[in-house]
Symmetry: C2
Subunit: 317 residues, 2 copies
């Protein structure tokens, strides 16, 4: 096969596509609206037309395989299992339909698993056979790689580490339970922590008090913390500590060589990493302490991370 694949990142509104080579270089990009297509087959034909257009424009051959990142994409069976954000009925046989329209092999995955394979193929996890990808976004996702292979499990449902219970009877989670990791370490979880710290320390000055409640974000806390705001710093201390405790348990499960963190919160750097590493060392089994497990940041450029992740699974198609 030629050494170029097509990555497709299906979002709720927009679908990005890109031709990517084996070094992770994006040779051409395009995009179409995700909405307004009669069905997934029509949508697939629009993607084919856009792919032909960008290949022609850049003087490229058509790609030899396709990787798709989509909400609740199942890498085992190529289905989009369920989703609130797409217009089509689910479960949707996305890989099958795309493969028929393009005449190419297609692999489908959720965003976190695509990110894991993206890091292994082009990013921070190159050369690693055992690592865990943690995506810190609106929720917390993960991809677990053991012996060079992504763990998929029964029905492709493995790696839901955002829903490990880290505080029994803790914060309520969208999944209906309490105390899930993502209620503490997602961007939304950080906002909950900000609100709680502001309420618990009514007399402590903080620049975060001048921000309207509905405009509080983890980025605002980051900026305040970097400017020396003590309460905002404690928000990151708490978040990093909870995440470090969780990663310590995860290490006893699959004994990874590294964790790779991705997403807005991961860009907080040492503000998050310093308390995280401390909590990891204090809470991990002695097999894993003393710096034996690396805590790495994603090396996929954030603007194209989802596209690169999607393209990476094409190499496995």
């Amino acid at each position: 096969m030629n050494r170029q694949v097509l990555g497709i990142d299906i979002g709720g509104t927009n679908t990005a596509l890109g031709i990517v080579n084996a070094r992770g270089e994006i040779l051409a990009t395009g995009n179409i609206s995700t909405r307004g297509h009669r069905d997934f087959e029509t949508f697939s034909r629009a993607l084919l037309a856009e792919t032909r257009r960008i290949c022609a424009e850049a003087g490229l051959d058509m790609p030899s395989a396709i990787g798709v990142g989509a909400p609740s994409g199942n890498i085992q069976n190529g289905m989009i299992e369920r989703t609130a954000n797409l217009e089509w009925p689910t479960p949707l046989p996305a890989a099958k339909i795309l493969s028929e329209v393009f005449g190419l092999p297609v692999a489908v995955s959720n965003d976190a698993n695509a990110a894991a394979i993206g890091e292994m193929t082009y990013g921070a996890a190159r050369g690693l056979t055992d690592f865990i990808m943690i995506t810190l976004g609106t929720g917390v996702g993960s991809g677990v790689v053991c012996d060079g292979r992504l763990i998929t499990g029964r029905e492709g449902l493995a790696g839901e580490l955002g829903h490990i219970i880290i505080r029994r009877n803790g914060r309520p989670c969208g999944c209906g339970r309490r105390g899930c990791l993502e209620t503490y370490t997602s961007a939304t979880g950080v906002v909950t922590t900000i609100r709680q710290m502001l309420a618990d320390n009514p007399d402590e000055p903080s620049s975060l008090r001048s921000i309207p409640d509905d405009q509080l974000t983890s980025l605002a806390a980051y900026e305040a913390a970097m400017a020396g705001d003590s309460l905002a710093r404690r928000v990151f201390d708490f978040t990093g500590t909870v995440l470090g405790e969780a990663l310590a348990d995860f290490a006893s499960f699959t004994s990874p060589k590294a964790f790779v963190l991705f997403g807005g919160l991961a860009r907080s750097g040492e503000l998050l990493l310093a308390p995280l590493r401390k909590a990891f060392e204090e809470n991990a089994l002695f097999f894993h302490t003393g710096g034996k497990v690396d805590i790495l940041l994603s090396q996929l450029p954030s603007a194209h991370a989802a596209l690169l992740g999607a393209s990476a699974i094409a190499w496995q198609a």
Copy 2:
């Protein structure tokens, strides 16, 4: 190769060996003392002599491969990594030395991983590609199988699920930390629970009060509970609940089709399983509830389970 392998179960005092066929039938057994050999090579020669003796006696050909179960045996590199119970210096290249002495391929594993492969080869996990073995003994061990392969991880240290922290700042553990699963759900953990319940309920009658403190065991609690002792029943309710909460989190990690429980406590049957299943259903992510994950009991005969586990990894050697 012929269809018989040698299983060797190295214990602190005694080493059992057996010739096993692909159906898990033990065709001949023998044993030698683990102690009193000058070094591991001398011990290996004594094992070879015993193997020749039992094969001759039973009219069998010599086996075609060897599987060894040993404390802290590392399936990745064939070493016995460290141990308080054996006389030899560690790390010990057990697979290498045995292979030289016998002239056969040798695989080495710890007991829990051997049990996992034993269940997959001959027992409750036949035909399952995704399951987690939990051994409930003096400690709590585990073996994690994904897509038909045992997860080994960095340095072969994967699957230490007895050291997942299930109660933060909980009971002190031999590993130096607090709240590890094995401080609650091992045989020793159950004895701690008995003592605690007796102390917390000084006015409640219980047949367990007539047993001297240093003779309390999980078996005594089992017998009392089966005879209707209410406090003893609550010991199993508590133990099963803690284990169910832990398995619920484990399900979000690798999405197994089943858990297989092994060891003395697993023989408590519904006393343990009823509260365990209830806690699992109440605590697992909705992907895994409604009976989608089976909680199974080991099907390896308890007298020969370690030997069968050891022999099972020989098929992979």
